[in-house]
Symmetry: C2
Subunit: 348 residues, 2 copies
Amino acid sequence: MLTDLTIALDMMGGDYGPRSSIPAAIAAVLKHPNLNLILCGNQQVIESALSKANMLDHPRLAIKHCKEVVTNSCEPASALRNKKHSSMRVALDLVKSGEAQACVSSGNTGALFFMAHYVLKMLPGIKRPALISAVPTEKKQPVYLLDLGANVHCDPETLYQFGIMGSIVAGQALNIPSPKVCLLNIGSEEIKGHDGIKQAAKLMKSSSVINYQGYCEGSDMFTGKADVIVCEGFVGNVALKTCEGIAKLIMHKFSKALKKHFFYKALAFLLRPVIKKLYRRVNPDQYNGASLVGLRGIVVKSHGNATNKAFLAAIEEAAQEVQRKIPEKIQAVFEQVDTEKQPSGPHP
Amino acid sequence: MLTDLTIALDMMGGDYGPRSSIPAAIAAVLKHPNLNLILCGNQQVIESALSKANMLDHPRLAIKHCKEVVTNSCEPASALRNKKHSSMRVALDLVKSGEAQACVSSGNTGALFFMAHYVLKMLPGIKRPALISAVPTEKKQPVYLLDLGANVHCDPETLYQFGIMGSIVAGQALNIPSPKVCLLNIGSEEIKGHDGIKQAAKLMKSSSVINYQGYCEGSDMFTGKADVIVCEGFVGNVALKTCEGIAKLIMHKFSKALKKHFFYKALAFLLRPVIKKLYRRVNPDQYNGASLVGLRGIVVKSHGNATNKAFLAAIEEAAQEVQRKIPEKIQAVFEQVDTEKQPSGPHP
């Protein structure tokens, strides 16, 4: 049960826009009696859709008309300059002003990141925000992977800070005191990787707020060896999207293999529900929202392909982050780290 | 049918050493009547294993005794300095001297790369060698991915050269005149990615020897959109190993889901052969060898976990590369490129 809270939704983003965001918003308020939503987007479109669903006068659904939309082809800097009245920007402004405690968008990731950074600003002491998401493992609990593309390259201290932020998010979500943190590398031996990653490993090893476990490789990301896996945005994005690609490939090959033989064809039909459920589970990018952490506010990014269910999951993720007070907890830990020895200083 | 050729095998590498390399070598000579193998490793161990299989006096199996082994924990530079009599080094020396036309090893990748680079040297005009492997797609033919970890970071011209080398390998293997080449990036729009990748894209676009198709993301690596995908070694290694990880995860979750219900449990039993075959197919890292390209000689790296079958596949890959004259073809194309306008020059 969620306590009273308000979330601003960018209704116009992603491949489906209101077609997925409206049903998700309706499902969210019906499911969570203390949740208030501010629907940012074209008033006429939203009203017409709510009216069709007999939800136009719902007391916990407010509409904020926005005359612009940030499209997928829009350059981040141009979106920031020219789309001040877009549904994405207005949703972020509502978080900034305190009218909403979090916002959710399935729009252009680069623009959302750029705008969120500009509007909400960084928490004190944090160099860069990161995009983090839960990824399934062989164990019951997922692993939290960051950065997923907010920062193409990251210096060692940024990776180190991601380790701290990831620990807080995973610790709160999984309810564990000191999550195991690994750095994603191309080998598990200490000699592997580039200088930046070796420097980041040193910082993590000597930190009092990170339970550092060493390197992990792409092949053991999903074994449950780590609770948090840290990498540069370019690498994290490729890894996450490769999961999506290989999951699709496996499903494709599996269906094809089953269709080859009449006997297996019958099995395929029976197996369809298991396969579908599995596909959703191992396809984190499609299904879970990713959160921007390190900012003075909560921003959850839903996949551009987000269905109603995925957008609903992103709204619920945002609500949980509000209740877990993620930004406040990150700030508190960074204040503690700041009073300790500066780990990035070149002098001992 | 292979025409007369000789391949040197590092018998002592990988997790299984002679336990997988001996059966693979025997299977290879029995399957290919014109193939000669030089087995580099501990003479006593090899002789004893061959003798058990009644293959000690086989006319196309020669033994080259090596008193040292490069272990997995050995640092590349130290292996080069201190392991001059190792099975890995001797196999490479045999290629250098022309006694063998190619070599195969499942040992320490870093050491193999370092030694091969030192012993065989680069082809003229090529900046760095790359590790390339075929990865399955939804289509019939695979896609060739490089670099898989030989170079952590790569400058734009190196990526551009990888595009050329990948085109030659894929063109020969798939028998197509101008393979489609993509750069792996975190978005398909031109504005995405870092400066290095944008520079590489420019070089590829203006090249007469690359059929450049733009960026591709992790999620469409396996759709068959590209015949060659180029990326930095760090990214390629993570992507390939993520495939391995997610394939394991899917198989794990699938078996678990099936075990939950008696009805599905019975299905799982019937499906076992299909699932096993599929797992091998979508797990390229485990199953195919990866080749080092750009050197004055052919070196195929089999997975550290290589089974007999995988090691045999690597031997066959090496034999095919000899027949396709991959190094000669790479050299010819680079000579052609060299006479054209230097694509990397800062002045137009």
